[in-house]
Subunit: 325 residues, 2 copies
């Protein structure tokens, strides 16, 4: 009942009478009172006024199923939500849930990861309560050869959501890092289980640094958090909801053609490398050039002094000739 | 000690004295006698003659770690072996072992699968003791885009191993079914877990129908077993070992260029569709043509009356215009 109570309290501008809650849910006053008490214990500030009813004053920065569901506006993303205080890795957990039959759109959220995964077997710092550690499970009916583009779809969603929620531009460092003022605030790790012509499932892990007040010295030159960049605190559930809504939007566009054709302009507009000098760290032969945006397949277009080259996401790293981005 | 005992008994043409076994292993006569007894209990026929020693007379058709290890000649495939009486699916089990850190080359074998997996979410009939249900775990340092070719490498290995062991040609129906006299004796299911530029692991599941004396009516027109085709019984461990040895060989060739360039001729020689009329079941527009072999990327070359077309493995099904193959 906590989800429903919260939903009504949130939707109501003013007081909700205990009587109307009883009628709505077909339960006793005691049951309503008990639900309200549980919410208060969880950190929700709820004012109770004689003859008026209940009013939601403030909400805690809580990642619970009922908090997420009470603000949910998505159609399929996050219809199933699994929240954990601690997991090894939200991607690993989501993969297990996929094997157990959890549906397309299942969302996994954790307050802390003990073995958060980064790219190529590296780790991802995931201290308790500091950020968003979420994974979206997809079972897309697309070709495995097109699945790598999903990570760019996710980058678009996070860039748009963070920009909207914070009011500060959060750009994309190709292919899928999200940066603010030149430092990374979000990493995305897409993993796929596939037969050679058939996707079993895809998990898109998104780690956003929200409340971190500092970073270990070895990464502090390139990592930052929303708090460090804005000096403000953000409600993580609202940010997650915003990411999911935007992911649904971009994913629907992607699915029409199974490529990024209709998203290239927006991606390029968010691309911090755009028209910047970049060094392409091709293991065979690194080269410098100017980034000119992406192709409909998600490749980075790099103009060198002699030719135009296309760089496949993941084959190589790209960095700005000056500094991190 | 069973592995070592068996290895010596196998290697010896004649009798091995109890005394030499004691010295070899540095154990007592009782310990040797105990090991021999355990092997006898498992079904090995071992003759014991006063003053001569032990002689291996016959071996059971057993899929145990020590049986497989005692005949092993591979370099890396099957260095780690996990045998089970029953599993849900050897592919699923191998994927779990991969997550738990089991190495490249780990072999999973089961006497029975409760939920054997076929292509595209279909099942695979896996009754107890009837066949080979094995999965080879790989952690290849290749691009995910090239992983689908591994399933053709596996098809080559099985085709060669079955042909060698049975003395009857077992051809390949593109891309990766193994057929004898026009009916399927083996299916291969390759699954991959990958980041978009990095393979976590690949599992290659191989199911070979060995002892089956009949099949359910709905598949009996297209499925067969080694027993049904040859009226002979085969030793499954020897067949597994042969598959692994040949896989090692073809895999080494594949890895040099990360494609099938150097294997095209041999693959085409084993291809039952070669120079046959085929129907390509392209969901958009099926078409007929003549199969002309594969490309170095594993695509099937199909000549229609107006043009040459390349068919990607997995995108479509291909069947002979007449009958199953």
């Amino acid at each position: 009942m906590k989800t429903e109570l919260l939903t009504i309290l949130r939707e109501t501008d003013g007081y909700v009478s205990g009587q109307s809650l009883c009628e709505k849910f077909g339960v006793s006053r005691t049951a309503v009172w008990k639900g309200i008490r549980q919410l208060k214990e969880a950190g929700y500030e709820i004012e109770a006024v004689q003859n008026k009813g209940y009013r939601l004053v403030s909400v805690p920065d809580l990642l619970s199923e009922y908090e997420l569901k009470s603000i949910r506006k998505t159609e399929w993303a996050g219809q199933e939500i699994c929240c954990y205080p601690v997991v090894d890795s939200t991607n690993t957990r989501a993969q297990q849930l996929a094997e157990d039959g959890y549906p397309d759109g299942t969302l996994v959220v954790a307050e802390q990861q003990d073995a958060g995964k980064g790219r190529r077997g590296r780790g991802w710092e995931s201290p308790r309560g500091s950020g968003i550690f979420m994974t979206l499970l997809l079972k897309p009916g697309i070709s495995p050869a097109n699945a790598s583009m999903l990570t760019l779809v996710a980058a678009l969603a996070v860039s748009a959501a963070v920009t909207e929620q914070t009011g500060q531009p959060a750009g994309i460092k190709w292919p899928n890092d999200i940066v603010m003022n030149g430092k990374k605030i979000c990493g995305i790790l897409t993993e796929m289980s596939a037969q050679f012509d058939y996707i079993n499932h895809v998990v898109i892990g998104i780690g956003i640094n929200v409340h971190n007040e500092s970073f270990p010295e070895e990464i502090s030159h390139m990592a930052t958090s929303l708090f460090l960049e804005t000096k403000r605190r953000f409600h993580r559930a609202a940010l997650i909801e915003s990411v999911l809504e935007r992911f649904e939007h971009y994913y629907a566009v992607f699915q029409k053609t199974e490529d990024l054709g209709a998203l290239v302009r927006e991606y390029d507009a968010r691309l911090v490398n755009m028209h910047q000098n970049v060094r392409v760290l091709d293991p065979k032969e690194p080269f410098d050039g100017k980034a000119m945006g992406i192709t409909p397949r998600g490749e980075l277009i790099v103009d060198t002094w002699e030719s135009r080259r296309l760089v496949s996401a993941g084959e190589v790293s790209v960095r700005g000739v000056y500094g991190y981005v």
